[in-house]
């Protein structure tokens, strides 16, 4: 009894997340459509947006049928597990895009931006790294 209740709860949660996800996709797609064509914005038909949102959601990970492929969420989990970590970090996400050189480049520059945006908090805590010590010693 308790288990079926649990799965039901998870289903509800998935529905809710999907709706929120779809809202984000709609705003992104509409903004993109407006800037897509130079002369005048592209109008995107409703079913197209719904389709894209579904695709992206499946790509991210949650599906009605748990046997289907859950790409991103599982990839990053497996990569982190393989590295013996209990938390996912940027490298894991970037690894999941390793098959596409260009995409990897985009993510690299994005992560570099992220790192450069918050140097203060990082540097105050950072001790001189071990690599440097090794170089100094040798």
């Amino acid at each position: 009894m308790g288990e079926s209740e649990k799965t039901e709860e998870a289903e509800e949660m998935a529905e809710l997340l999907r709706d929120r996800f779809r809202l984000s996709v709609i705003t992104i797609a509409e903004a993109e459509g407006k800037s897509a064509s130079k002369r005048h914005g592209m109008e995107i038909k409703e079913p197209v947006v719904a389709c894209i949102s579904d695709l992206a959601f499946k790509f991210a990970g949650v599906l009605q049928n748990p046997d289907d492929s859950q790409v991103l969420a599982n990839d990053v989990r497996l990569f982190a597990q393989h590295a013996g970590r209990k938390s996912v970090n940027m490298e894991d996400v970037m690894l999941s895009a390793h098959r596409n050189e260009h995409l990897l480049g985009l993510l690299r520059s994005f992560s570099r931006d992220l790192k450069s945006k918050e140097p203060k908090t990082g540097k105050t805590r950072k001790r001189p790294s071990k690599k440097d010590d090794v170089i100094d010693a040798s």
């Binding site: 649990k6 998870a10 949660m13 998935a14 997340l17 929120r20 996800f21 984000s24 996709v25 705003t27 992104i28 797609a29 903004a31 993109e32 459509g33 897509a36 064509s37 005048h40 592209m42 995107i44 038909k45 079913p47 197209v48 389709c51 894209i52 949102s53 695709l55 992206a56 959601f57 790509f59 991210a60 990970g61 949650v62 748990p66 859950q70 991103l72 969420a73 599982n74 990053v76 989990r77 982190a80 597990q81 209990k86 938390s87 996912v88 970090n89 940027m90 894991d92 996400v93 970037m94 999941s96 895009a97 596409n100 995409l103 985009l106 993510l107 994005f110 992560s111 992220l114 790192k115």
Partner: protein
């Protein structure tokens, strides 16, 4: 590029998937051996993600969506149509899925 996904949203999606997977594994483990409480509890410690990882994930998903729209827009424009129809999405879909 102020339009992007909410990191909290992506995190809850990830956590949902991980929780499901953890539950599946728990069931499997129970079938194999009934009394290894310590082992399962160690395995079931929940997965977490740091904030930068989530931000990169959001970026990845956003690139997926914008790429889909842009490619479909190119096809639509080539056809002299200023509205993206499902057929345009169909045309670009195979390559899009291969690229991600």
């Amino acid at each position: 590029m102020e339009n992007t996904f909410d990191t909290d949203l992506v995190y809850s999606i990830f956590k949902l998937v991980w929780r499901r997977k953890a539950a599946d594994r728990e069931e499997e483990a129970e079938v194999i051996m009934d009394t290894d409480v310590a082992g399962t509890s160690r395995k079931n410690r929940p997965m977490t993600a740091n904030s930068n990882a989530l931000r990169v994930s959001c970026e990845l998903l956003q690139i997926f969506v914008t790429e889909a729209v842009q490619r479909a827009a190119i096809i639509a424009e080539a056809e002299g149509n200023n509205r993206i129809e499902p057929t345009h999405l169909e045309r670009i879909l195979p390559q899009l899925l291969l690229d991600f």
